[in-house]
Amino acid sequence: MSTQKHAHVAGIFEHPTRFAPDKSVPQLHAECAVGALRDAGLSLSDVDGYFCAGDAPGGGPLWMADYLNLKVRWLDGTEAGGCSYLAHIQHAAVAIAAGRCSIALITLAGKPRSSGMATGTMPQTAGSDRPEAPWTSTYRWSIAGIYGMCAQRHMHQYGTTLEQMAWVKVSASHHAQYNTRALLRKLLTIDDVMDSPVISDPIRRLDCCVITDGGGALVLTTPEIARSLSRPFVRVIGAGQTIYTNDGGYCDLTRTGAERSGAAAFREAGIMPSDIDYASIYDNFTIAVIMQLEDLGFCEKGRGGAFVADGNLISGVGKLPWNTDGGGLCNNHPMNRGGITKAIEAVRQLRGEAHPAVQVKNCRLALASGPGLVTGGGHAHASVIFERN
């Protein structure tokens, strides 16, 4: 069933906190839920569909739905790492189109910063029940270690340079300087990134995203209800999701699921990458942005390094305004899951509610896209295209 024209984004909310030692995870979820509903002009009693992922306490959607005392007729607890919320948008759009719910709430929250989680560099033991665990857990692999291999391989195959990777962080910092909530607001230079300490070769500290507490929420609804509310019309016109894994031992570390999730979203929307006015692309590491830009079709495979150089991602400077909130690299990466903030900034751009210094003029078509779990270590990927009308 096509998602086209059925689902409108009625409400968005990005939690303002980046450090929340005084709040529980359910409390953060609840504040995000109420924030997005208030933005839409709706309340908890209006919600009849609830969507959350593995960050929701209790495992699955039941216990946050209970905490919020939702009277739902549709539940979805799809867990696909950081892109779960982009997949939820597609699921919500399909459920709305099928008449299974009319006001869908999606929430994310967590507090890795106040918990002191060294997300990128700690050995990944959490997935010890994953079927490959007997053959990988010994190697103390870290997220930075896997992305280090992705970057090294991309440099080897395509001649991508450390300086090109640094441009991604520098571009994010150009945007984050205007965001008073951003964890990292300092305007960075190429040298700042190049000179930052190596974490896992060739990934340097400033190639990595920030670690933050917080969360976000989205409310999707029918065209009829959207028309009764006072928010600008932003609708989902295309979406796609997929996985890209070990592939039986034959995977390519330079490629991502964006090839498939992006192609599906563009096909459904009936548009080309060149039609996109603004793109939110998940940026847990600088190399991840380069790989996804290629796989989404913004440039040829292997040309992502050249594409991001010289400020091509900076709003008002380059051809593709990207992550204008400062992204995960500088602004916010709540619960180490960047999918929902990607959708939120895309909607802000389409509404004309981005910071004036980074707002794209006449923004009509926006993409939000990203992986969940670890590119190069087995990941999900989801993409959503929104239209302002």
Binding site: A118, T121, P123, S128, P131, E132, A133, P134, W135, T136, S137, T138, Y139, R140, W141, S142, A144, G145, I146, G148, M149, C150, Q152, R153, H156, V198, I199, S200, D201, P202, I203, N246, D247, G248, G249, Y250, C251, L253
Partner: protein, 135 residues
Amino acid sequence: MNPDKSTLTFEQDPLAIAYPESREFWVAAEMGNLLLKTCDECGRAHWYPRTLCPLCGSERTQWKVGSGTGTIYAFSRSRRMDPPCTLAYVTLSEGPMLMTHIVDARAEDLKIGQAVSVQFRPTAEGRAMPFFSTV
């Protein structure tokens, strides 16, 4: 790594015994042999080992002794690990790629494409695991 023992070391390892269909792999590992699951239908070896061939869906797979040789696909020196280690993906001569560490070498001396061979080392949990060094 003592074949004379009545109980093999991996039999104390919770992760190894949680995968009873992989027993043959851990037995061979203690003898220093790298077994690969290979498909009778499509003829290809895959990694990590499964009874069901992930490449063609056949349930007709069997263990075969691999060459234990391959080339470095990618590596990254994890400097924040204690102790630091060189995480790597190695492309085995039989085709599939596996996660491992490159040992007995300085990361600055390594190159993508370099030839490596397997050596098994005991883990703290009890099972022996494949590590690779340059040849």
